[in-house]
Symmetry: C2
Subunit: 442 residues, 2 copies
């Protein structure tokens, strides 16, 4: 009998991270790292896991988004989906009624990404390979077929993408072996949350250097005086040779970003991340011209490949920060990796939150093996939160992500964690402390 997708279950799972102000930044002082967690089941008893990362309130809206798209997957033959995830991706993103709610942005687009990623997880499990390896073993033709080029051809055509992927074929085996041996560079944001005091900042910066990181990141943008003091502490703690990136989380307008970075220049910041609205392509280009040689980075809120295309066409970014859950899933991230490679801009994925490290490491490793062929000027963000809730958590060693070896995309949550942190009915949320917290962050 043909194996079919029999259900798409979606769970509202929230972790009360705001209690410790983990993850606090200029725009998001009290995040509760959360997810619309997606579980695909098949008639043969197989499962695929995906998630859409959120930060607390509104996770129920994201769950509703996933449920609205689930009907387009349930009842489909698994072989059909796995043979052509590109077609699935186009069907989910292109649904003629649901696309009105985007199009290709926000809740419905992230919902499509959550389901697409769950199908890729299922495909990788069935193949018995971690996703990065499954992708890295696909032919250039198969990879190009994953991408919807409709709005991209003025920057990247199918023949150009093929040529690029074929150019990386010869080194694939060697790079895969090196990846398995050495892992992939990481950088850490653990020291730099805005809600941490100076002592904690200093201590965590020193620990990061001791742990082997060559790049750390600090949140900035709430107070210039505080930023000057905190960046001074960080620079003294890490010394002149470790890179210190800063992240404003969209708090500034264009002129303000330029003025503020001028004051922070003395601390030799490596990049300024999200200096302004993630939609402001021309604004990022203006900031980049003004703050050079400080690099400009963005991407965690860049909602689709059309936006990344323009950031690259306009010379607006030095660093492309893909996110596993913001866009329409693996397929759209393949498009973004190809665009970045075409323009010669390094990709340093956004991660942290809950599950973002687990998922996005596969995309960066695939980029290294089969697309850009390089780890130079590249690193995956790492934050040491919430990994204990995953069945196959990331493994960090001496400032590097070790390559996953378990089949899949690493997004499966432990069943006990889902049960404990389900919102609003899980025991972690049903008690009085939880009610107090919801009130405090509202």
């Amino acid at each position: 009998m043909t194996e079919l997708i029999t259900s798409v279950e979606t769970f509202d799972v929230r972790f009360p991270t705001s209690r410790e102000r983990d993850g606090s930044d200029a725009m998001n002082p009290f995040p509760d790292y959360s997810a619309a967690y997606v579980v695909l089941r098949t008639s043969a008893g197989a499962e695929g896991y995906g998630l859409v990362f959120t930060v607390g309130r509104g996770t129920e809206v994201q769950v509703a988004g996933v449920r609205a798209l689930a009907a387009l997957v349930v009842g489909r033959p698994v072989d059909e989906l796995i043979a052509d995830p590109g077609a699935l991706s186009r069907r989910l993103v292109g649904d003629s009624q649901l696309r009105w709610l985007g199009p290709e942005k926000g809740v419905v687009h992230m919902a499509a990404g959550g389901i697409v990623n769950a199908v890729w997880d299922l495909a990788a499990r069935r193949a018995g390979k971690p996703l990065w390896q499954l992708l890295s073993e696909m032919t250039p033709e198969q990879l190009v077929a994953q991408v919807d080029f409709r709005y991209l051809r003025d920057a990247l055509t199918e023949p150009e993408a093929l040529e690029l992927l074929r150019g990386a074929l010869p080194g694939r085996t060697g790079r895969a072996a090196r990846l398995a041996e050495e892992g992939y560079p990481a950088y850490t944001t653990t020291p730099g949350w805005l809600g941490y005091d100076d002592e904690k900042l200093d201590r965590l910066c020193r620990e990061a250097v001791g742990d082997g990181y060559h790049l750390i990141k600090l949140k900035v943008g709430a107070s210039l005086e505080d930023d000057v003091r905190r960046l001074g502490i960080a620079r003294r703690a890490v010394g002149p040779d470790v890179r210190v990136a800063v992240d404003a989380n969209q708090i500034w307008g264009v002129g303000q970003a330029i003025a503020w970075m001028d004051r922070l220049r003395e601390f030799d910041p490596y990049w300024i991340e999200e200096p302004t609205s993630p939609d402001d392509i021309l604004g990022h280009a203006a900031v980049r011209r003004a703050v050079a040689p400080i690099r400009v980075a963005t991407g965690e809120h860049v909602h689709n490949a059309v936006m990344f295309k323009q950031l690259l066409q306009q010379g607006a970014v030095d660093v492309v920060q893909i996110d596993a859950c913001r866009v329409g899933g693996v397929n759209e991230n393949i498009a973004i990796l190809l665009l970045a490679a075409k323009f010669g801009v390094p990709v340093c994925p956004h991660a942290g939150g809950v599950g973002l490290c687990e998922l996005v490491q596969h995309l960066a490793m695939f980029d290294y093996v089969a697309v850009s062929g390089s780890t130079a000027e590249r690193a995956i963000e790492y934050v040491d939160h919430l990994h204990e809730h995953f069945v196959d958590p990331v493994r960090i060693h001496h400032g590097r992500y070790l390559a996953p070896t378990a089949p899949g995309m690493s997004g499966q949550l432990r069943p006990a964690s889902v049960a404990a942190f389900r919102y609003p009915d899980g025991p972690e949320w049903a008690g009085p402390a939880a009610a107090e917290q919801v009130a405090a962050t509202a």
Copy 2:
């Protein structure tokens, strides 16, 4: 006692328009015009009405989005909201957890818009004035205070906005009187839906001219051969002096848009609307350079003021098509009207669907009286669908919108219509014909 907002009710209301293929275009062959309908109630028994327009499936996601934001309004004093809708708008758009789902785009942003518009409706009802008049009587200082300039100052500063609004002060009274007398120009999309046959197209084009329209619009982009034939029919039907705009609803890439419009050039199209992805600012600029003197129009899917800012900065559009429900409500549309005026680009609002004509006419009329001061090269889209469901429907006379006189923003649905078309439990959806239709459009 202080009057408070006591509830925000949200209804999923869907009209089965796909049965007649009303509203059919290249990207959306079977729309069911729908809305997440918003009803604010106060402790004194007053009400305010807003809606977020949708096209069928997914309306329940939009309803969830409105419900997530409702908690930020319920319990607030009405006087506080009405005195400073700008603060309300910033609070809804800037909620530190919910903004992750956008930011400022898609479901959560449209939800904010639906609530903000309902508050403006309440404010206008309380003032006993139609919204266009309430806005047109505000001082330049009050209007500027409605706008969040954070991401806009590189294109438009507060002093520039003030100067612009002050410049329009002298003519306000005269223009308001003229508007009350003559109404505001309309154009019609009624003839041009892709699902209509040639005979119906020809007949409706001739009727449009007879009804006094100087501009009609046809959907294009599904088949070049069909477009050539249909545009020929339309041009012959309306003669050389009536303008014929065409609308591709995002179906093309940049190169394809340019090539396709080259073939349609012989029919003298007035503008090409949505030639490609609404996110592609650089793409629209490239299309505009290539197709001139054919104009480029976009906006119904342009998700916020930052995107409109860039379309204007980049010289990517000749026509700005604001939509009452896409962005964060009246406040963000004031920002967009100010940007368009600064760049000297006419605003021709998107309408149709359900309720869009009713709502957006107020913004265009306010633009005429107090911002741009002109109706030259301007017209509000008109489609003759579903107006019978509104308590204060638009009135069209000889190709012009008559200025509303009833207090509010005209978005109140008739209670009987809400009851009949509620999804999935209203009698229009509970029957077997409805089930058949849901299957056909999926």
